[in-house]
Amino acid sequence: MAKILIVEDDPLIVKIYATRLQADGFEVQSGQDGLEGIAKIREFMPDVVLLDVMMPKLDGFGFITEVKKDPTLQAIPIVMYSNIGNEEEIQRAKSLGVAEFLVKANLTPNQVIEKIKQYLPK
């Protein structure tokens, strides 16, 4: 069973994606800020991470920076999504090596999940 980690501070958004992904047969865990996300990714070793940008304690960019430093984690694809999605964010995310950067307002949850599935092992 493929494993997905959601790192997101809004519990409603976590619930929406967790409900859908679990119904589709995925194993889902979540962290509510970047620091918790780091702890979870080490312990859970997911196949893909769905990552928010703005979070307390450690934001999405901080999370990626940490993950990319760790050779055991750096290959895990990260799908980042944001409610801002301006030029600076996109460039920064790309330079840090995200697999995909999505703007929440442009996509439905179904479409986001479609994007996540692209990075799962076939």
Partner: protein, 474 residues
């Protein structure tokens, strides 16, 4: 008498005549020499006058700021005229806002050392323009200089101390020269002299007259300069203010759109999770209301997206992100979403395509926005029938068209359609349908930015077709 005697007398006479002639001619030469010397002095003085006036003009030409130039002028004049008994020089300027003649610059020779006397003259040289019988004010209209020994008439009653101090400095007379540029009186150039008015030479008057003309020009220029620099300054301030407002607006739009989009995407996520059946069965009636809520929320998201786009376009921060994407899949998704909105209005939304595979290198998110805007508009302005979406590939171009069975658009309105904030029939129709009129303007910016073109075919009463093209780069 012997011829010898005659001869001697003759010689003596000649000698006498010679001596007389010599002395006469010597006196003549002496006079001539004096005359020449006098002329030379005169010429030298004239040259000096011209030189001084010229140097003052240079001063004026090179300094536009009059508060500076005023000081320089009074200093230069007094420096030149000091040896002729000129003890002080004042520049009095007309201040129209205060309706007064005001002393703006002063220069003294050391002879006017008494500070109380200086204070006295500083006060006495400032007066209201309504004092029409004051010689200074009169000189402005008569354009004649005032040269007078009646100092009390010019400066008011002296008390004992002032009179004594004045006595000590030896100030005997004053000259006031009106400063007039073209026909406009600007002020008065005033001098205090340690000699009688009758002792003022033509040379001195020429010099003062030269100064006065130069100062009048300077004053006039300075007034113009002040106006220009005030306007420039005002414009600069206004410009800075606008820049700041612009920055604040950008910041606000960014913040507001984030704050607005966060709850709106959460609403969309929740509603779609229910509608997609992840939260249990949904009765048809519940589905109908939830679908309506979902569509209305999507409209809000589109509106905020458009406002954000506009703000980015205006700030020159509208950038494209190219990536490889599956075109048919994107079309299916976009149309699928909008079919819900069509269903609500009982309109068909159909997409038939022969393109089964096409990997496009372009900005997927922005193309989605264009499609959502065009198809969304078609749904909004169509009340019967529906919307047909079609596409085809021709050479290196992808053609997409969106045809509706709406009311159509007149030729004149078609030209306005892609402009910012324009909505056809704004007064009546737009009120019922809502919207900001930004969608097509943004769509045009996006399509043209991606190297395509966008246009419209329509006839009033026969629906509309929006077309756009995109270059195929794989």
């Amino acid at each position: 008498m012997s011829p010898l005697l005659y001869g001697l007398i003759g010689i003596a006479l000649c000698a006498a005549a010679y001596v007389v002639a010599r002395s006469v001619s010597a006196r003549h030469y002496e006079n001539e020499l004096k005359k020449q010397e006098h002329r030379i002095t005169q010429l030298q003085q004239q040259a000096k006058t011209l030189g001084v006036v010229w140097s003052i003009e240079q001063l004026i030409v090179n300094t536009l700021n009059f508060s500076e130039v005023g000081e320089k002028i009074v200093n230069a004049t007094i420096l030149e005229l000091e040896n002729y008994g000129f003890a002080a020089s004042y520049l009095l300027q007309i201040d129209t806002t205060k309706n007064a003649l005001i002393s703006t610059a002063t220069a003294y020779t050391p002879s006017l050392h008494n500070p109380e006397l200086r204070t006295f003259f500083a006060h006495a040289t400032t007066m209201s323009l309504s004092q029409k019988d004051h010689p200074f004010i009169t000189s402005l209209s008569t354009k004649q200089m005032v040269i007078s020994e009646n100092l009390e008439q010019l400066f008011g009653q002296f008390d004992a101390a002032t009179a004594a101090a004045l006595q000590q400095t030896g100030i005997k007379s004053a000259i006031a020269f009106p400063l007039i540029s073209k026909t406009m009186p600007l002020g008065v150039l005033l001098f205090l002299l340690t000699k009688q008015s009758t002792e003022v030479s033509a040379y001195e008057l020429t010099m003062i007259s030269g100064f006065a003309n130069a100062v009048a020009i300077a004053l006039h220029n300075a007034t113009l300069y002040a106006k220009v620099s005030k306007t420039t300054q005002d414009l600069q301030i206004a410009n800075e203010h606008l820049k700041e407002l612009d920055r604040l607006k950008d910041e606000f739009v960014s913040l507001a759109s984030h704050e607005l989009r966060t709850p709106m995407t959460a609403i969309r996520g929740s509603l779609s999770t229910i509608l997609d059946g992840y939260a249990g069965d949904v009765s048809p009636q519940t589905r109908e209301f939830l679908t309506a809520a979902y569509n209305e929320n999507d409209r809000l998201i589109r509106l905020v997206n458009n406002l954000l786009n506009i703000s980015r376009i205006e700030a020159g921060r509208f950038k494209f992100e190219h990536n490889v994407f599956n075109y048919p899949k994107m079309m299916q998704e976009v149309v699928g979403n909008l079919q819900m909105a069509g269903k609500e209005k009982k309109l068909y939304v159909t997409y038939t395509s022969t393109i089964t595979t096409l990997q496009l290198v372009s900005d997927e998110d922005k193309i989605r926005e264009v499609l959502i805007n065009i198809i969304g508009n078609a749904i909004k302005f169509t009340h019967q029938g529906g919307i047909t979406i079609a596409d085809r590939i021709e050479g290196k171009l992808l053609y997409v068209s969106v045809t509706d069975t709406g009311s159509g658009i007149t030729k004149e309105d078609q030209d306005l359609l892609f402009k910012k904030f324009s909505q056809v029939g704004r007064d009546t129709y737009a009120k019922q349908t809502g919207g900001t009129g930004l969608g097509l303007y943004i769509s045009k910016q996006i399509i043209e930015g991606l190297g395509g073109s966008i246009w419209l075919e329509s006839q009033l009463g026969h629906g509309s077709t929006f077309h756009f093209t995109l270059p195929i780069t794989t």
